[in-house]
Symmetry: C2
Subunit: 132 residues, 2 copies
Amino acid sequence: MKLITRNTDYALRAICYIAKQKNVVTVTELVRVLGVPRPFMRKILQQLSKEKILKSYKGQSGGFKLKLFPEKIFIIQIMHIFQGQVSLSECFLKKDICPNRGKCVLRKKIRQIENNALGQLRQISIASLVKG
Amino acid sequence: MKLITRNTDYALRAICYIAKQKNVVTVTELVRVLGVPRPFMRKILQQLSKEKILKSYKGQSGGFKLKLFPEKIFIIQIMHIFQGQVSLSECFLKKDICPNRGKCVLRKKIRQIENNALGQLRQISIASLVKG
DNA sequence: ACAAAAGATACTAATATGGTATCATTACTC
DNA sequence: GAGTAATGATACCATATTAGTATCTTTTGT
Ligand code: FES
Ligand code: FES
């Protein structure tokens, strides 16, 4: 079981790399640095640019830059993009079978854990990763 | 993205229900109470009994009981059974590309979150769920 | 013997993940 | 303004995981 999938992971590393560069970064360069399959990397970067995390420049000598400051990008945003809403506490039982959702202890406990983890993920910015 | 899958969820609820009963509980009863497909429920219970969480009784008027006290069964054990090891912090990059695993900030941060979540999961017993 | 339970095992369906492939568009360079 | 080197868009494919079915065997109380 993984909390972070491969594309999120690659995306994070790509963003970190880009954050450290002064100029635009091309897919070619990222592929060389990260050793990730080129078409996959491309797809990931395109998604990130569609989601306004990266800014893209077409044409010769184009590439990608961060659209936001590294302090303004958080792990959880990237997870959302590639993994959808992180929801640990959705009830799998039919609605009419567990009518007392409000009192359900299991759900409450799990929601607690969720909130903790999300709280932490919300605080980890790209900036804090790059500094290390 | 789900931290807890359907079979873990069903297993937890089944265990909770069984914990509350005095006598053995049959699949038929659980299916009625939880509204889960019968063959699926059967499979789940069989796994639980193979993993020594439940004790099974064959033959007429057979069924399942807890093998351990509810205080001794923890959510994380059930997750292990159905979802394998929970590992958030495995590195997806090729080993030779990120040689400085020790210093990797991303990895360290994620490991932190993992430890937190696992710590909490390790503490939630069936007993604490049933009390509510 | 019979019925009602679980055990074992193999199979199938649906969904999510991890990619490829291809063609269109943009923009710098000469 | 043609060529080239970049991204954009989109459709497709492969694999793994999750969710569930089907079937047959074994056990045991009556
Ligand atoms: S059983 Fe559905 S919310 Fe707890
Ligand atoms: S990049 Fe592999 S451990 Fe951080």
